[in-house]
Structure formats: structure tokens, C-alpha cells
């Protein structure tokens, strides 16, 4: 990668995550905001029908539709599966119009501040993440890099460079001005960094990146029939990116029994109590905190 020619900012991949969707609308109205001299910036409202319905998706979670084998499978034709193929055509299979960098905007009900979700260990992405976390202490870096791009079902699988931004806590279906503005500032910082890269003037950064590496997911306490009988413990609620040690409370059941963490090694939970993950059987994701030399 010698030059970035085309940047795609994607929002509304989940239709009830309003921050990204409305930022896309703002940028469409004020394109100068995302214009930089050395590259083109395009915007994409990824799931317009879900946005219109204020729902995450209509038939299938769009941000799970980008497995290579699924994009190539003509039998998959739900609204979101077709939309994924259309987005692939636009951003990845578009000849000299394809995107060199994709920023995908999300929000979460979990207390994750401004999280960068890396899906690979490309050194460019790591350096940019280190820079962003250096200039803004609200930025956290969560790594769920896949063994191969073929296993990555996210929008960001379409392009080696780029990542998702996950902001929270914010309810689905609302805008919060502070988070809207923080997200926009982060986007500007990314675009400015890419411009400096193209100009051969990459800012100096820390040589160490604090990274939360995905380990596993934990489900809610459930009865045999699959129904939930407990909630995130009040002592864990909103404690994303904080250490969870053997014996610390994780859940409280509806009849007030505390369930503690029983792992031997310390973990750092994220996506604690994310609304969209109830249906996926995920109460939180566990990560390992790492200092990565870059």
C-alpha cells in the first residue's frame, strides 16, 4: 500500500444504530467535511430498509453476511444477503473505484467509549489504532482478528485496511449529541491521518499499543428451556475494559443469587449487556489485555 485513493465511511449497517446512520446523512449534506486533498471519500448507508424501520436488520444481521463463501452463494437471497453482495460490488469488486480503507460505524448499549474493532493485525491498522488511542484516552482497541479473511463475516472483511468503530453506551434507536460529536471527531482524526500518510508525513506514535484481545463469549444464566433467569450483576454493569478476577460477581439471578467468575486467569470483559446480543446468547465477550509493541 503506497497510496490510499478511496476511503469508504459506512453507517447504518445496523439500522437501529442511529449515530452512524445520521453521520452518513450529515456527511452527504456537507461533503466538504470528509474531503481531503489526496483521496476520495465516499459514504454508504448500508442497510437503508432496516434504518427506515429502526431495526437492527429485517431478515439477517447484515454484519454477519460478509463471509466469502456466502457472498459467492447465489442461493442466499434475503434482503441483507443481497445487500451484502451489492456492497461488495460497490466497495471491493469495483476496479479502480474500490475502497482502500473502510470505516464502519456502530454503536452499543455497553459502556465501551470509542472502541476500535480490529479484524486483522495489519501493521498500518495497528499504527493508526495506536495513534488514535494516544490522542484520545476514550479510544480503546479491541482485537478480534480472524485466522483468515474467509472466516470474517463483517463489512470490514471487504478491505484489508480499516476497522469498525463501536461507541457506547447508547440505546438503540436514539442519538446522543456527545457521542455523535465524539464519533465525528474520531472520523476526522482518521481522515487526517490517512491524508498525512499519503503525504509521507505519518505522525510519530507510541511504540506500544494497549490491545484487548478477544478470547471467548459468555451467555446469560439460562434454564433448561433456554429462558434467561439472571442479569448482569450491578457490580459488573458498565465495567467494560476493567479486570474481572476469580470470584468477582458476574450475574445476579432473578431470585438474587450471585454468580461469580470462576476462571483462573484475569479477563477484561467487553460488550457487557449489549442489547443485540441477547438473541445471540452473548452476555459479554471476554478479552485478554495485551501490550503490543508495534
Amino acid at each position: 500500500m503506497n497510496q490510499i485513493n478511496r476511503v469508504a465511511i459506512v453507517g447504518g449497517t445496523h439500522g437501529n444504530e442511529f449515530t452512524g446512520a445520521y453521520l452518513i446523512q450529515k456527511f452527504a449534506q456537507f461533503p466538504d467535511l470528509i474531503t481531503r486533498p489526496s483521496f476520495e471519500t465516499v459514504t454508504l448507508l448500508a442497510n437503508p430498509q432496516a434504518f427506515a424501520a429502526a431495526r437492527r436488520y429485517l431478515e439477517k444481521d447484515l454484519n454477519r453476511c460478509f463471509l466469502r463463501q456466502d457472498l459467492q452463494n447465489p442461493a442466499l437471497n434475503s434482503y441483507e444477503e443481497l445487500q451484502a453482495k451489492s456492497i461488495q460490488n460497490s466497495l471491493a469488486l469495483n476496479g479502480d473505484k474500490q475502497a482502500d480503507f473502510i470505516l464502519d460505524l456502530h454503536s452499543t448499549t455497553a459502556n465501551m467509549d470509542l472502541t476500535i474493532i480490529l479484524v486483522n493485525t495489519n501493521p498500518f491498522n495497528l499504527k493508526l489504532a495506536a495513534y488514535l488511542s494516544e490522542i484520545n484516552p476514550l479510544v480503546k482497541v479491541y482485537s478480534c482478528d480472524f485466522k483468515s479473511v474467509a472466516e470474517n463475516p463483517f463489512v470490514n472483511s471487504l478491505c484489508e485496511l480499516g476497522f469498525a468503530i463501536e461507541i457506547g453506551p447508547i440505546a438503540q434507536g436514539v442519538l446522543k449529541a456527545t457521542l455523535f460529536q465524539q464519533t465525528e471527531e474520531l472520523i476526522h482524526a482518521v481522515l487526517d491521518y490517512l491524508e498525512q500518510f499519503n503525504q509521507g508525513e505519518i505522525p510519530a506514535t507510541n511504540k506500544t499499543l494497549t490491545l484487548y484481545h478477544h478470547l471467548s463469549v459468555v451467555d446469560y444464566p439460562k434454564k433448561q428451556d433456554g429462558t434467561i433467569f439472571g442479569m448482569i450483576h450491578p457490580e459488573l454493569q458498565d465495567k467494560d475494559y476493567q479486570a474481572l478476577n476469580l470470584g468477582d460477581p458476574m450475574f445476579i439471578t432473578f431470585d438474587n443469587q450471585t454468580i461469580v467468575y470462576q476462571g483462573e486467569s484475569t479477563v477484561w470483559p467487553v460488550f457487557i449487556n449489549e442489547a443485540a446480543y441477547y438473541e445471540k446468547g452473548i452476555a459479554m465477550a471476554l478479552t485478554q489485555k495485551q501490550q503490543l509493541k508495534i
Copy 2:
């Protein structure tokens, strides 16, 4: 009303308001919790299909389906309209099995603590609301009493006694243990009060009730095509039940222009930034704070 014989606790009227829906499931599993000597308590998961889908409703907002004329209109047959008729049959037209008191459990993304929503000025309801706000400072009383019961589209139109409980802030589709427990405590306080009433031992209360009386609603800033171009101002976000005066910030537009309150008289906004009200064109409801002698 000399004796309350049957109390109905309704939850999941909106399927993505999990607190009430899961409290109903808890009470179904532990019925002793809501049993009192002098009356029967029944529970109802009002919109089970919307709860299963984790959506507010499937076809029509169930808590707008209880207008008398709609309940009597055989042409109305969406899922929720039929469900409303079924609930009316169960709770209001059921001979000696009908409910004498209905508690309807809701949640909101707005910062409304434990709000009691009164739909009439029945002295029993006012006294109970005064008692609950006296024993728990988190309890607020919001009055949107209708001119007649025929104009009231809520579940609570089915019964003169009772009210809705609206707790927040909480995202749709999640449980928060603290709010779950606070709501359950409030339900127990209501049931204990009703038991004492039946025993002729009503607790003494303040003679004055602080009440927020509904005035009007305010929409988001919108362009001519109907799309939103502004958000709740950061200085107003989460300030439910606090005074809003002439010149105070209400909204901030996407291009950072502040829109201020231009009314002459002080108002007290509620339901600020409620997710479900975006589609209804409601950014907040304005109320007048009153001290009511009871």
C-alpha cells in the same frame, strides 16, 4: 370501592421493555411474592409475540389500542388490536374475575427514575402515588389524565384504579439489575398498600403531592422532507423533571447550531430522547410542575 379483590400486574405491553416482561416471568415462577391475604394477584405478559421478537410491537403499538371505540370495532384485527380485545375480555369484561387495579410495567430510554403515569384523578390513585413518592424519592408522578376514559388508548383505560410504571434510563432489549430490583420493590410497596387498604389501615401520607401535569409534546428539528437534522442538546439530555426556562438549550443541530426553548413559562420536560417516540415525532413531553393538595 370498598374492597380490592383482584389485582393485575401487566408486563411486556411493549415487547422490548424487558424489565416488566421478565418481572412477569419471575412472578409466574414465584407466585408467593405477589400473593397477599385479602386479594388475588394475576400476571399478564401482554404482547408475547413482540417480546419473543424483542420489538415494541409487531403491527401496532399495543398501548395505543385501548380506545373504547377501537375495542368495539370488529374491523380492527391486527395482532395487537386483537390482543387488546383479548386483554379487555380478561381484565375488564370478565364478570367477578375482572381486575380492580391494574399495574402496567414499562421502561424508557429517558432518565425518568421510577415514574408513575396517572391517567385520571381518582383520589385513591392520587393518595397511593403520594404515598409511593413519600417512601421513595426516586418516584415521580406524571399526570396525563384524559378528559374521558373514551379518549384513553392505554392498557390502564380498562380500570379506574391503577397506573403505569415507567422506569429509566434503560435501553430497549436489556435488563439492568438495579432497575429490575427497584421496580420489584415498588410493586411490593403497591401490593402492601392495597392490602392495608383492604384491612382498613391506609398509611398516613403527605397532604401534598408533587405532580408533573402533561402540557404538550415537542418534535425534533426536521427538514421539509421530514428528516431529523438535530438532537437533544447535551445540556438537556437526562434532565427529565428539571426546569426548562426561556432561552435554555433544547436541541443541537447536526451542524452545531443550538436551538433554545422559546416559551414564556417554565416547563418540566419528560420522556427526553425516548427511543420509541422518534417514530411518533416526539423529542420530549413538556409538563407543568404542580403541588396538589389531596
